[in-house]
Amino acid sequence: MDFLQQFLQQVLNGLTLGGIYSLVALGLTLVYGILHVPNFAHGAFYMAGAFVSFHLMTRYGVNYWLAMAGSAAVVAVLSTLAERLVFHPLRHHSGLHPMIAAIGMMLFLEATAQLIWGADFQRMQSPYSGIVELGGLTAPVQRLLIIAAAFLMMVVLHLFLKKTVTGSTIIAMAQNRDGASLVGIDANRVAMLTFAIAGALAAIAASLYAPINLVYPAMGNLVITKAFVIIILGGMGSVPGAIVGGLIIGFAESFGAFYISSDYKDIIAFVLLVVILSVRPQGLFTKGVR
């Protein structure tokens, strides 16, 4: 029984981590699908999302959910601006230049956050600090909330992409740029929309995760690197791949931290990637050469 409890506890942790990672990876994979640019600044958007929520809650006493919505809106605007001002002018350049520009943007956002909020670690309060007991299994409410909200967001995103015309334009653009243009899809509009969605998802993920973690300017770095691992595993540009990959990494980390070593838990994702790509350079779920 004891073993089973510990096991279920790790499943719960895995779902929490996996949900957060999936939300971040989804934004990254959508952007990659449209622009074929690895957006290194995506982690900085995640960080900005946490700070905006934190700011709204501590400075203006805004309700947790409203703060999350506000931060999603702010980061969506930020992300769209990045597309307009940085990636759009570079759309005809080779692979190297947009990557470096994305890094420049990441460094800028981090330094700006540090300028505004300082380099210190901040703690964000959640109104949901209770603990639920379920048959010997203890679950902090915030964790259950993360799981519920993350999977709700995934369902909403799925319905948006599959059931609405606007959502379909994103999929069409990702599948074939020229074809999408031929049927009258405005490439600029789709690119902006995609960046806005990616930014909002990152902000929501950060706001959900922040109460059980810390808020600081470099908080996005580790998350974004893991999100890259996830979308490489899941196939870059693939939406289901991002969700499955996020859960794989989430579970690998929670079980690895518990059964192997919590010191090295942050390495697990990368070792997994290195091992998998050494055996299968094309990733787990994709076909064809890179």
Partner: protein
């Protein structure tokens, strides 16, 4: 400008470097300059794999830290003489780079960059967490200064400056020989197009790996010098921000040139010195600067100058060619008419 190109220009630069300690009377300036030289050496390495071979390696600072830790661990914990440890710093970095390069270079473009980003992170985390070997976050303290012949010790700023400078000059010269050789042309062919290079009979995997190994060898040596120069090491050296910084140097000076990365790596720290009131906020200025450069001056200072020169040369060639091309038409037309008549 023409006089300053080629050998004369390089000689002048070396002379300037030699005279610098006599011009500045300030040890602090010497330290800033020596640190800049060490990072310039590492940036030359990054430039070989990224600027000349077209593979953006984001684990570069990890390899630099590896070289530094080889020197730190061997000299402090195992009492190995500095120069033996230093020689090993380059070799061990290349040995570790061999399997890592082999695995990562099977991936192309973005995948290679993201993969090396992860490799760099692993290197950073291993250095930070493997306390029994690397002393973890405490770092390695008390690395001995490099020794010279007959008991001489490089512990004065001026002596260290010349030592580091000598390595940079040799490093830049060797790099110049590499990129102007057939091997360098091979790397550039790979940068310009994988498929085209392969169809010319170039072995992609072997040449990419060779470029990668040479590149990390430079990083390892630069790290070894860093350990002997700063004499204190922390895991921070492996942080990705150092790779990003070196990328900025390379980009500002001119990617895929020798002079460009040197200019960037030596000029930028001086610019930072003047922006010292910004300190850790310098990326509030430099971040947008990087973006603007990438958009408007994608070839950097040296690259833009070369492009301007090439444009001018082709314009002049056109001017010279134009009257010559016009002449035969004028002269042959009447002749042709004459033979008909």
């Amino acid at each position: 400008m023409k006089y300053l190109e080629g050998r004369i220009g390089w000689t002048l630069l070396v002379l300037a470097g030699l005279v610098f300690p006599f011009v500045t009377g300030n040890d602090y300036h010497l330290t800033v300059m020596s640190t800049a030289y060490i990072f310039a050496l590492a940036t030359l390495g990054l430039n070989l794999i990224t600027g000349y071979t077209g593979q953006f390696n984001l684990a570069h600072s990890g390899f630099m830290a590896l070289g530094a830790y080889v020197v730190g661990i061997l000299t402090v914990d195992h009492q190995v003489p500095f120069w033996v440890a230093f020689a090993l710093s380059g070799v061990i970095t290349a040995v570790v780079g061999l399997p890592l390069g082999f695995v990562s270079l099977r991936l192309k473009g973005h995948y290679f960059s993201i993969f090396t980003l992860c490799v760099g992170y692993i290197m950073f985390l291993v250095i930070e967490k493997w306390e029994s070997l690397t002393h973890g976050t405490v770092g390695i303290i008390g690395i001995p200064a490099p020794t010279g012949f007959g008991g001489y010790v490089f512990d004065q700023p001026r002596a260290l400056y010349y030592l580091v400078f000598a390595f940079l000059v040799v490093g830049a010269f060797v790099m110049h020989r590499i990129v102007t050789s057939l091997l360098g042309r091979t790397f550039m062919a790979i940068r310009n197009s994988d498929e085209l290079a392969e169809s010319l009979g170039i072995n992609l995997a072997r040449n990419k790996l060779l470029s990668f190994l040479l590149s990390v060898f430079y990083a390892g040596l630069a790290g070894g010098l860093y350990a002997g120069f700063v004499r204190f090491l922390g895991p921070d050296l492996a942080g990705t921000h150092h790779t990003f910084e070196m990328t900025t140097f390379m980009l500002i000076g001119g990617i895929g040139t020798i002079l460009g990365p040197l200019l960037g790596a030596i000029g930028m720290p001086w610019l930072s010195q003047h922006l010292q009131f910004l300190q850790e906020y310098r990326y509030v200025v430099f971040g947008p600067l990087i973006i603007l450069l990438v958009i408007f001056v994608p070839n950097g200072i040296v690259g833009s100058y070369l492009a301007w020169k090439a444009r001018r040369a082709s314009n002049e060639a056109k001017k010279l060619a134009a009257p010559k091309a016009a002449q035969p038409v004028n002269t042959t037309a009447p002749q042709g008419g004459a033979t008909h008549a």
